[in-house]
Symmetry: C2
Amino acid sequence: MPTEAKKSGRLIKAPENFLAQDDVKRPELMRRKFLAASVSSAAASIAVVGIASGGRSAHAAPGAGDPNILNMPAHTTGLGMPVAANPYGLPSQYEKGLQRRESPGLTRVSAASVAFTPLQGTFGIITPSGLHFERHHQGWWDIDPSKHRLMVMGLVKTPKVYTMDDIMRLPSVSRIHFIECGANTAMEWGNVAVPTVQYSHGMVSCSEFTGVPLSVLLEDCGIDMKKAKFVLAEGADGSSMTRTIGLDRALDDVLVAYGMNGEMLRPENGYPLRLVVPGVQGVSWVKWLRRIEVGDQKWAAKDEAIHYIDLMPDGLHRQYTGMQEAKSVITTPSGGQTLLDKGFYNISGLAWSGRGRVKRVDVSVDGGRNWRTARLETPILTKAFTRFNIDWVWNGAPAILQSRVQDETGYVQPKINQLREIRGTRSIYHQNAIQSWKVAETGEVSNVQVY
Amino acid sequence: MPTEAKKSGRLIKAPENFLAQDDVKRPELMRRKFLAASVSSAAASIAVVGIASGGRSAHAAPGAGDPNILNMPAHTTGLGMPVAANPYGLPSQYEKGLQRRESPGLTRVSAASVAFTPLQGTFGIITPSGLHFERHHQGWWDIDPSKHRLMVMGLVKTPKVYTMDDIMRLPSVSRIHFIECGANTAMEWGNVAVPTVQYSHGMVSCSEFTGVPLSVLLEDCGIDMKKAKFVLAEGADGSSMTRTIGLDRALDDVLVAYGMNGEMLRPENGYPLRLVVPGVQGVSWVKWLRRIEVGDQKWAAKDEAIHYIDLMPDGLHRQYTGMQEAKSVITTPSGGQTLLDKGFYNISGLAWSGRGRVKRVDVSVDGGRNWRTARLETPILTKAFTRFNIDWVWNGAPAILQSRVQDETGYVQPKINQLREIRGTRSIYHQNAIQSWKVAETGEVSNVQVY
């Protein structure tokens, strides 16, 4: 078999195949001897596998007649799958249960609905793009980027239409931010404790976004700084989502993004272009972005007048309430999970704030009587998930687990009754209260409200 | 149609469907009127789409008889795909060309080969898990986590065998780190300029890893600190990969990881358990980790004696050379790409160091005569990718693009001839020289070596 291959007209030697054929044979013989020796001398290591597989492997059973193979599983004795078997890799077959899921009956049309991120099974601060929550108003599309355009118009000197190629040549920035639907955890307003953290808090995700600062595009078109006060963002889907953004914010950290977690946006998340409005509710992160208009007053678009308004106890509505205040939730253990037995557990969760960095997270295991400060994983970034962890030894008695975040502005996550005192019980949006998980003596964990 | 759904025996109202049926009808009528008005008044917006699609859409053409629809593409007028159409989301159909790829003929068996990350198409610092590079020595397997075990043994008071459940109950940390194969960019030692950055530098990726510090497991088993000097890590695949790690490092930032980019490790990357050895070459990040042994001397395992050694000009080998020194590369523009025309470009690339943080990256467009300092994207993390960007106006003349990183220890990335003076040309591993991309007058970019 050749150890060299012809490529670009030149002979390329493999990095680890500089040996001639005879040289190759010798180490191979040595290697076989080595493996045989391992089997007899490294009994401890085989014992582990024996325990692991109970003498049976999930893969094809090894040849029973081979005394050297013993009970080793196929993956320890055989040749596995080749590289690039999946040119684009996927999770293990054993992880298929971890999916984003629609809450059945939540809306009347699945194209205008929500699929929730399974926070109970995620780690760290990056949400896998395949599990990023979805909220569409008219369904999602996989738009051809070569045909997609972005127009910038209104109070600018030179309105312009950009191709994707145009945009990707401009100065680029990358930043890690959370995105949360304003309606996340909405059920808890009405004292409906949905069973799992996926359905209670799963309309939030966190990714690394890459794109062009909106300020660069506005400058490129010659924004009229004397008249301009607001910016409108419009999406290309059937819902024609349009959202007003104040000019200060538009010139601050807003991005016109094409990248998410290292690759192009996913179609469900606005491919090929979406707005990133750090700290602000997800509806303003307009997907399939096709138009930016600069104006001098708010637009009161349909999704600013009919939806995404907060009904207050006095019957009036709060409008233009986009800020996502500091919030946290324990993701493990959480509703629907079961503790296997007494003993040590790692309590893990997420905290975030639309106003900046997370400063501190406290955790209670007795319904808020006593609190301990959790460890925060790094990096701690502005308007991004922060992962917290804390040790816990469960003694088998009923327990109520809570987390409480404080952000760098000093704001402390409220209790649900503190929120209700001001906002009533008929709101939909901006429910950021402390979440409580009850651990029963059986180890079963469920969603409860603690006042 | 019901606006409520029965769930867990309770009536759950949808967050945005608190309206009664009659209320629902009224806004729907208003919305239809609103949409019709948009079509006639927002002509500018329609013009954009007209340019974008040239009057034709990639999707089904809208009904030609409907005067309100004009030439809008289907995605602007129709109902799209429902949520959770992909319970685990995938990239756009238009991104299918971005794949990890095997270099044909690089090795004799594809199960013991390499698939490279397409760095030319990635953004930011997080490598999408589906595009993470692969390097297997005996192929990859999808191991049943319920049957997998990790044994910790050797110079410890109490050898233990851990199940995955055991490990996931222990204190957990999450950290973003790069992993680079020691043989990355190996071809350049021998003056073979492979055509693209995917094949020249694509054996490096960067992810957020989650797991248990190895130090926690060693303490749990009562490591004998008087005798212990080294740790051996062994994988469960057919290659029985075994690697020696010094005790200082093992007790520092090494992780026994199960999480990568927010979810469980991918099978190709060692599911369900791998070692994370920040800053050190990938071969030490043992995949499908099944055994940790504590000992008092180096093991000189086959992949420490036959492979992963550096052949020096005097004929001797350097052994146990795991450190990945500071390195950087421009990923856009890079070999195989073509500049569309003269004018503004964003030069973007990656820098990393096995010894800590990236301090600074300089970029030259004239083969190293003049240098400008690039912008570094945040966060800048230890032993992680740092993304750099810098503006460039191409005047149409031939150019040679280079990047040069300096890390926080003061180390500066060398030129290829500086490396060769010490290491010769027969090395395979640890090639971290400055990479040069030549831009021709045609705009075509190719790999060249500049001394």
